[in-house]
Structures are given as C-alpha cells and as structure tokens.
C-alpha cells in the first residue's frame, strides 16, 4: 500500500494551486447578470486608473509640476487644445499631466493606507475576537471611541499633527491619517466574524487536537474569516479616495511639491470657476468621481458575488422534456 502510494501519480503542486484558485473564484464565474456586470464594470474602470498610475511617466506628456518645455513657459489657464488636451492651470501646469500623476498619488496613498489598516485592524480583530476577556472589552472600547468620530475629523487632526512634525506632509502622513480612521472598521468586522466562527465545531475540534491558540487562529479561523474582507476593502478604498481628496481640498493632504493630488487641484480650481474657467476643476473632479465609482462598483460586485446571502446564482433555464407515458399503458393492460 505504501509502495503504491509512492508510485501513484501525485498531483503537481502547481495544479493543486490552480484548482484552489478555481474554487475560490467559482462564485464570480457563477454570478448572475447584474452582479457580474457590476463586477466587471468596476474591474475595467479600476484597472484603467491602475494603468494610469503605474505607467504615469510613460503615458503623461508632461511632468505634473512641469510648467515649461524647451525653455518656453506653458500658457496660463489655457483652454484645452492640441498641445494641452485638458488645458493648463494658473501655474502653467498641464491639467492632464496632473490628472494622470494624480492617479498615481491617490492609489499610492490609498494602497499604503489600506495595507496599514489591514495590518493593524485584522490581527487585532482576530486576537480580540478569539480570546475575549478584558483585552477584548478594552479594544472594543477604544475602537468604538475612534469609530464614533467622523473620518474626516480624525484624518485632519492626524494630518495636521504629523505635518508639523518631522515626517512632514507627504504620502506617508496622508496614509497614516487615513489608516487611523479606518482601523476600527476592519477590527470590528473581523472581530464579529471571529466570534461566530469561534463557536464552530471545527474550531473546537482544533483545540481538542491540541493546537495552540495561535495555530488555531492562523489555520482554522483566519481563512474562514478573511473572505469578508475584500469587498469591504474595495468599498473602503473608494471611501479613502474621497477622504484623501477631502484632505487635499482642505489643504491638509499632500504637499504640492510631493505630488499631484486631485482634491488639491479642485480646491485651486474653485476661484477659477468664477471666471468661467471650467477645465481646471472639471477634469480632476471627474477623475475623482470615476475612480470612486469604479471602486464602488467593484466592491459591490464582489459583495454580490461572494456574499452567500446576497448571491443570486445564475439559474439555468430548462424545459421539462416530454414525459414518456409509463403508467398509462399499464393501466390499460
């Protein structure tokens, strides 16, 4: 028996991984009409911006702070034209360049912020939910207190404090400010799910096998709890973009020298609007709306496909075949 096992073909590791991936994405492939459309629309839009962000130096005709080329200064507040597809700002920067580089800034900050929020919120939620007790009560108290404040307020306070400190007003400051606002969200979601999973027989079984708490959390609880996170993270990213833009709008975001930021551009464009100059505000503003919409669609699409409660499986259409008369003939005989 053992010899057979050794010579029997064993599935290659890679193929096993593919199968696992196939299982994980099964809900997405089986999703019904609306959920699918939402999901893919969101994917397309988000990908578009990701491409912009990643390949900004290659795509954008100019640097975001560039106000001249070949020694000639760009016109100020110029209408959209062949040279400047989206016009220029009061500081002679190309609006399109600022929009493209803005994508880079937004995504950079949000990705870092999300990573930090998850990195702090999820483990705390796991520990708090699994162990309970005083630690749990304390953490819940703290997190609920932070949760009670409006996101924007927390972000502004932290951004303000950090920007006057040695870290300065860069990408990291903005990221930290956003992180602080969202950690309680992930903490709560993960903790609540852990509390229900904790009572499941297979977690009990793991304890009965002799697994240490950290093993139980890692192998038995974590994977079953983490499925909730992607839809929330994407919806959260949408929210974070808005938060960053708001910070920028209020002047607490990225310093102009560090990067282009849409919210900042919109705030600068407010005074232009009075003079009938629409392109400095419209394009960055539209970019915000589009990216947030894309992420939201992606998040909602993920939620509809992954959440078993909302999931509407695609029911195949079928017809009842003609019934072969089995009984009738018999009754005649």
């Amino acid at each position: 028996m053992a010899a057979d096992a050794q010579s029997a073909p064993r599935m290659p590791y890679g193929r096993a991984r593919l199968i696992a991936l196939g299982r994980a994405t099964k809900p997405i492939r089986e999703a019904s009409g609306i959920a699918r459309a939402l999901f893919w629309a969101g994917v397309v839009i988000t990908l578009f911006f990701v491409v912009l962000a990643v390949f900004a130096p290659l795509i954008s005709p100019y640097h975001f702070n560039q106000y001249r080329s070949n020694g000639i200064r760009f016109p100020q507040l110029a209408h959209p034209s062949a040279a400047h597809w989206m016009g220029t700002t009061v500081q002679s920067s190309d609006v399109m360049a600022r929009v493209i580089y803005g994508a880079q800034t937004e995504l950079k900050v949000v990705v870092i912020a999300l990573a930090m929020s998850l990195g702090v919120g999820v483990p705390l939620g796991l520990i708090s939910g699994y162990f309970g007790g005083i630690l749990d009560r304390l953490l819940v108290l703290v997190m609920d207190a932070i949760f009670a404040f409006p996101y924007l307020l927390i972000a502004i306070v932290i951004a303000f404090v950090l920007s006057t400190s040695s870290i300065g007003g860069g990408v990291f400051t903005a990221a930290i400010a956003i992180t602080a606002a969202y950690v309680p969200l992930y903490f709560r979601v993960v903790r609540n799910h852990v509390i229900s999973v904790r009572e499941e027989p297979y977690v009990d079984a793991a304890r009965a096998l002799g697994a240490r708490p950290r093993t139980v959390i890692r192998k038995y609880v974590f994977f079953n709890v983490v499925q909730n996170v992607p839809p929330i993270a994407t919806l959260n990213a949408a929210d974070a973009i808005l938060l960053l833009a708001s910070l920028g709008f209020l002047g607490y975001g990225i310093q102009p020298s560090q990067g282009a930021e849409w919210g900042y551009d919109v705030s600068r464009a407010v005074s232009d609007a009075a003079s009938g100059i629409w392109w400095t505000g419209l394009f960055p503003g539209f970019a915000i709306v589009l990216l947030v919409a894309g992420l939201t669609l992606l998040g909602e699409g993920l939620n509809e496909t992954l959440n078993p409660v909302l999931r509407l499986r695609r029911f195949g259409q079928f017809e009842f075949a003609e019934r072969e008369p089995r009984e009738e003939a018999l009754l005649d005989e």
Binding site: M1, D4, A8, A16, Y202, A208, L209, G210, Y220, N224
Partner: protein, 439 residues
C-alpha cells in the same frame, strides 16, 4: 449484542479504570438582563454536570445516554478539557486532570481524542483532507518529513474506508458526502493513536443506511487500535448495540447505570422506562405510546427540587421533591386540557396570578385576589384532587389549608436520590432507595 466477547478488566489483568470521575460538577454562569450585566451580577447558574461519579474501564464502550439538557455533552467536553470543571475530580491513568491548565492539556491531547456530531461542521472548510487529517501530527511535532506525513495520512484514510487515499488528499470537505466526512473526522482522531475516544453523537446526523457503516468502522478500529470509547448519544437503539455499559443522564445527574443488557432487559428508573417506551420502533404492530411522561426537560438553571424527574414521573411519591412550581403546573395542565370550556376563566379568576408560585420551595403560598376567599381556592383544589386522586402530586402534599388571606400548601421534605445498587445496576430513585419514605 455484538458477536465478539466483551473485554473485561480481569481478562486483561488490569483492575484500575482508565478514567475515574468523582463527584464532578461543571456549572455555567448565565448573563442576565441588561441591568444585571451593567452591574456585573450573574443571573443564575446552569448546573450542566451536577455531581457525576463514574469509571470508564479500559477497553470498554461506555454509553452516556440522555436528552438535551442532560449534561452528557458537557461531561464529554469536560473530560476533553474543552470546558473547565467547577469542582470534583477526574483521574486519567492515575493523573488528576479536572482543572488542568490549558498548557498541560496539550500533551494529554494525544491520548484523548474526540469525534463530534456534525460531520459537516467538524472539518475546517479551508483545509484539504491531507492538511486536516495530518494536522494532529504536525501540531505535536510527531512527523516533520512531508513525504512520510503524507504516507501516514494515506494509511489512516484508507484504514477508515476512504480508499484510494491519494484520491482524497486534495479534496475539501465540501466535496465529500456526510459519511465520508465523518470517516475523515475519525481518521483525524485516530492518527495519533489515542487511548480514549470520546464520540459525541457520531452517527445521528447521518442517514440510516450509512450509520451502520460508520459504527462498524468504529468497532473495527476499537479492536485494532485497542481503544476505549465514551459514546454519547440520545439514541438508545444504537447505544444498545454499541455499548458494553450504559449510563442514563437526566439534568446533570446519572439516574441509572449498569451493563447494557441489564438496563434494556429490566429498566428500573421511570425515566429509563419512559425513554425505552418512547423510541419509535420500525414495527407496524406497535402504536405511538399514549402514556408518556408529560412535560419536557426543565430548564437546567432552575432544576426541580429533590429528584429532577419528579414533575414528570408517573410514580413519584412523598420524598421526590415536591415544590411550589408543581402546583402551578398542575393548575396550568388542567386549564390547558379544559381550554375553551366554561368555568376555566372563572377558576383562573378565583386563583389569581400564578407567578407567585414560581419558586423552588417546598411551601406554596397563594394570596387570594381581591374579593376572593382562600377557602374557595382550597375547595377547588380538593375538587381537583377528588377528580383524579392517583395524580402523584397529591402524595407530595402534606398540608393544605386556608389561612388569613391566602392558601397555604406544605409539601413533604425533598430528598436527593443517590445512586444505589439494585440488581446488577445502580439506580438513583427513591422507589429503590434505602431512604425510607417519610411517614
């Protein structure tokens, strides 16, 4: 009974039991209303296991039979260290394990394993069978080489009927049927070669045609691996087939314990008798029994006085623990039977609010409502007694009279029944007890 001979301690030359439980108690405190929680007050205590003493002999199958609220599952979990005992002692192979700290349980877990009831929930949905079944070896550091680990997993899977093992390694629980899942759970439990296996309703969630296969597998494994089983179930039919000895539990206590055949041949405790009568038997000559004990298992947080079964027992008498709540039940049952008939409302108005009787005391004090006389209540009760004098309740009543503005009922003193040997078994029932009924 099963064909093979029962392994007795004498035949193995061992006399000390594998597990010896003495007066074990596991209580849960329950969180009460919001106000209670605010102040931090406990609202009550559930006495899930309320003074259990028994031995598990090496090599036997001991059945723990009871309905919900009997405490059988909690007893199993206390034995496994998943729940801390409140008091009492558990000796496993000579070691005291009742309140062992979690740290010290790890090494012990290699010897005491469990199979749970719900095969669909006992396996981690995120782990393949190879990972799940092999995990015990990894946890205890018994097999670090990946290839050898896989071989051991294959071996134990095939031993449990999942062959060829290689086909099952990459399967997730959702790919398997109920019976296959339970086989995997059993495989996981025995891969460590434990001494004691606690099986909590291992087949009750499986189809009938599959149960036999899993029970057969468990019997084979018992032989091959020299296991001892604690078989927890509510199903007396499988227990009869599977177990050597059986302990019947009711509300945290053992009411009857003895060799399986003795219990089935001559059940002594009224609860055991009721259980056996109630099991639906696939014999069309039988009819649904109409004389089952009334009521249900009471709330474990507020157990009845004396013998917990007395409110439902058809043969209860003086010492069984009569109390105020029994009077309430008597009246309510009467009104339920006659519901809709004339006179019920009048009687309800005469007696008044019954909530005052909701106390666990051997005296009942029922204040007459405004404008009513307690003498009329006493007359009503006497009428009720005359209608059915055989009702056990009346044997518990020592004194019934009207005093001032209220009706007073005193019951005989309650006595807790203790397990005492009767014939070849032990029974905790005053009918067989050496405690003389109060004259």
């Amino acid at each position: 009974m099963r064909p093979e001979t029962v392994v007795t301690p004498e035949s193995r030359g061992e006399h000390a039991p594998l597990v010896s439980i003495q007066d074990l108690r596991t209580y849960y405190s329950i969180r009460g209303s919001f106000a209670d929680r605010l102040v931090g007050r406990e609202a009550g205590v559930v006495r899930a296991v309320d003074g259990v003493s028994l031995d598990i002999r090496r090599g036997e199958v001991l059945g723990l039979v009871g309905e919900s609220g009997s405490g059988k599952t909690t007893l199993g979990r206390t034995l496994l260290g998943l729940v801390r005992a409140t008091s009492g002692s558990i000796e496993f192979e000579g070691r005291q394990i009742a309140r062992l700290p979690e740290r010290d349980w790890r090494a012990l877990r290699r010897e005491v394993q469990v199979v749970f009831q719900d095969p669909h929930a006992s396996l981690n949905p995120a782990m393949t069978l190879e990972q799940a079944v092999g995990h015990p070896l990894v946890i205890h550091g018994l097999e670090r080489d990946r290839e050898r680990l896989r071989l051991r997993v294959i071996e134990v899977l095939e031993r449990c009927g999942l062959a060829p093992g290689t086909d099952f390694l990459d399967k997730y629980p959702s790919d398997l049927s109920g019976g296959q899942k339970q086989r995997a759970v059993i495989a996981r439990a025995i891969i460590l070669n434990p001494t004691l296996l606690v099986a909590d309703e291992p087949v009750s969630m499986l189809d009938m045609s599959v149960r036999a296969k899993i029970l057969e597998l468990m019997l084979e494994l018992k032989q091959d691996f020299e296991l001892t089983y604690l078989y927890i179930t509510h199903d007396l039919a499988t227990a009869r087939f599977f177990c050597d000895r059986i302990a019947i539990m009711y509300l945290g206590r053992i009411v009857e314990i003895g060799p399986a055949e003795a219990i089935y041949a001559e059940p002594r405790h009224p609860y055991t008798q009721a259980l056996l009568r109630a099991i639906p038997e696939p014999d069309p000559e039988r009819v649904v029994p109409r004389d089952l004990p009334r009521g249900e298992v009471p709330d474990a947080a507020l157990p009845p006085l004396g013998c917990s079964f007395h409110p439902r027992c058809p043969r209860a008498f003086e010492p069984c623990g009569w109390e105020s709540r029994d009077l309430r039940e008597l009246l309510e049952a009467r009104w339920a039977r006659a519901a809709g008939a004339a006179g019920v409302e009048e009687e309800q108005a005469l007696v008044g609010d019954l909530d005052v009787l909701d106390r666990s005391t051997s005296e009942a004090r029922l204040p007459a409502p405004r404008g009513r006389r307690p003498e009329d209540v006493v007359a009503l009760l006497e009428r009720i007694r005359a209608e059915d004098p055989a009702e056990p309740f009346w044997r518990g009543v020592e004194r019934l009279e009207a005093r001032g503005t209220r009706t007073e009922v005193d019951f005989h003193n309650p006595q807790d029944p203790r397990l005492e040997p009767v014939g070849g078994v032990e029974v905790a029932c005053h009918l067989y007890g050496t405690t003389p009924p109060e004259t």
